[in-house]
Amino acid sequence: MSAHVVVRDLHKAYGGVAAVRGVSFTIQPGEIFGLLGPNGAGKTTTVECLVGLREPDSGEIEVCGLDARRQPRAVKQKIGVALQATSLQDKITPREALRLFGSFYEGRVAATELLERFALAEKADAPVDSLSGGQRQRLALALAFVNRPQLVFLDEPTTGLDPQSRRELHAAIARMKADGHTVLFTTHYLDEAEHLCDRVAIIDRGRIVASGPPQELIAQSSASQAVTLVTSRPVDATKLTALPGVSAVTTDGAEIRFQTSHATATLAALTSLLTAQRAEVVELQVKKASLEDVFLQLTQEAKA
């Protein structure tokens, strides 16, 4: 099956300032794809070009087999978008909003079905300004599904939500995958991207600096594991940097933290070093690197 999204060499500038500089990626059918990046990296501009909110300066965008720049209206029939903010009038009700937006499409899902699916039936006739943050976000998701979309764009869907609402939303996104939907979502929360996405692309300063499955990115990263060590007496930290694979050493009294790309070799050498310095291990913790570590490393490398 051909890719649901193909982006080739996308460029977009605002008043001479380049926001997106040659972004390319593909999203396969049924895939959950995360677009990550710090503020101002260009991810929002990229998504806005994809969904038809902005006209790119150059580049190619194919969505569901259609040229998005030439057939924007046909593309809009096939996609669903959940914006970050609820973006609805205060006094409209979920039922009215779903009916209204449903009327914009050739094929539509009944409002009652969506209200049930997104647990909004009880609030179906309540004005939007009386809904909780989580309910509003579920409504935003429901609106993305009014046209039975093949591809769903979620723009930072969990920003500002409490942990319970975030968890509910994660479940909803997991259901989308189970239902066979293709999803592109942007987020600031790298743990949820790591947990939910089949593949991610990290975008920084208008360019994609890394892409692939989260675990693969973590494995490829030099900052693969973090070590925290507490000893019975202070250890000379400068000697730690000489150990194989060690980087980013910081000390805080008896606690030492560092990164290692070769955990086994580092720990073997560390044992010898501690024995030589007659220091006992009080606490030792080895943690695999997270996507956040990879993200920070990549974006800081780009700055350097």
């Binding site: 038809g52 909110l53 609805l88 009038q89 209204l100 009327s103």
Partner: protein, 498 residues
Amino acid sequence: MNAVLAHLGVSLRLHFRNRMALLYGYLFPLIFLVAFWVLYRHEKIPLLRHMGELLTVAALGGACFGLPTTLVSERERGVWRRYKLSPVPTWAFVASTVVARYLIILTAGLLQLGLALAIGMTFPEHPLSLFVAFTFVAFAFIGLGLVIAALADNVPAVQALGQCIFLPMLIIGGVAVQLAALPAWAQHVSAFFPGRYAVEAIQGAFTGRGLAGARFSLLALALVGFAGCLAGARLFRWDAQQRFANLRGRAWLLVAVAAWVAVGLIAEARGRIAIPVDKEVSPPASQPAPAPAPAPAPTTPLATAPAPVAPAPVAPVATTPATTPAPRPLTPPPPAPPEPAWAKLTRADAEALDYQVPPDNGIVSPFAAPDEEPEDFMKEQVDGVRNKIATWPPGSDGDDLRCIRNLLYIAAVPDAIQMPVERYLPRVVYNHLIDTYPKEKLIKILTYIAQTPEQGMVITDISDLGIEGAAGDPMVVRERAYLYAIKMVARLTGRKQE
């Protein structure tokens, strides 16, 4: 089409759920109506001559503030950004927004009209013309609202821009202040404002010749509306982050401005700056009105309106003093003229007048007590009138009815202008009348004038009596003369003791 109808339905429903929108859209026009009614409560048919102004204010408020406030606040909330994600084209959303606003403005106008009818106004002379004229007015102002929405980056900016257009249009654009009351320069300025044409087109349906007398106004409104809608649609912004200053195609704004300028220039070129005849005059009477059968006595504004006055048989307005009085007939006199209508009146007719007039110490039709002396700075004016009144041609040449009516204008004009001397001149006129005419004859003629205030010529300028300044609205002068006629009858018949 489904999308347009659905959006239209939701727009209307949300409007009726928004208390502030209801306040601005419906309550304000009604407050204006009540204010106008209080202001002009002594007019024979309440509000009839002001519906052009009132309905224009309703349309202007709904379109100038209501429409852009809704559009800009929805844009700020991201609603329009969300709409843009749908496959529905821009024009469909703009069209349904425009139609929704038209229906809102139309209902506000109907509510205003209904209340006016409820408090005694007569039904419009040309209801279909009224509908057409109001639609043109709404279209013109909705175009203006779209332009304001395009210009304003946020809701406070809508208020600021709206006031910049609303207030000048009200004050010097011929909307709240009648054109006749404006100085010449302001009448020229008003030709460049659509408000003037809105008032003319709507008022024509109440007291004029309907659409036949409002062709230019309708054309002007259509041009302004079309240019506004075009510019508004071209400048339409989905996203609040887009600022007008950075918008491509800002030059489209010039299209809207050009329409206003073009309308003003055409009006200047066609000599349409002066108050249109259609507004004030119906049949082209050339002489003081013949004496028709006495009209029913004027009633209070709250009572059912008497015989229609619109289009009233109003004589032309004399904006300068009558300097060429009708010559007195030379001998031999013609065969005995038919008995004038006023001669047939009786004390019963005088008693039947409506004596619910404003108090003598009020702002409207004040009347100084016999022993009340003017302050020093006014004495010269009062003495000047007292000395000249007996030989003032409009008050001494011609038949008695015309002379007495003209003499009443000496009291009415300063009252209409609200001059400090206004309360003393009625006493001068009254004293002159009782010195000049037999009491019974005077009662009959004043009673007749009070019964037929719309007849005869109006004098709005009495500068030859040393009273400078002209009353802008001749109908106000007529109304004040009517009130003074009643007050004098009350004094002559003993109803009012002094």
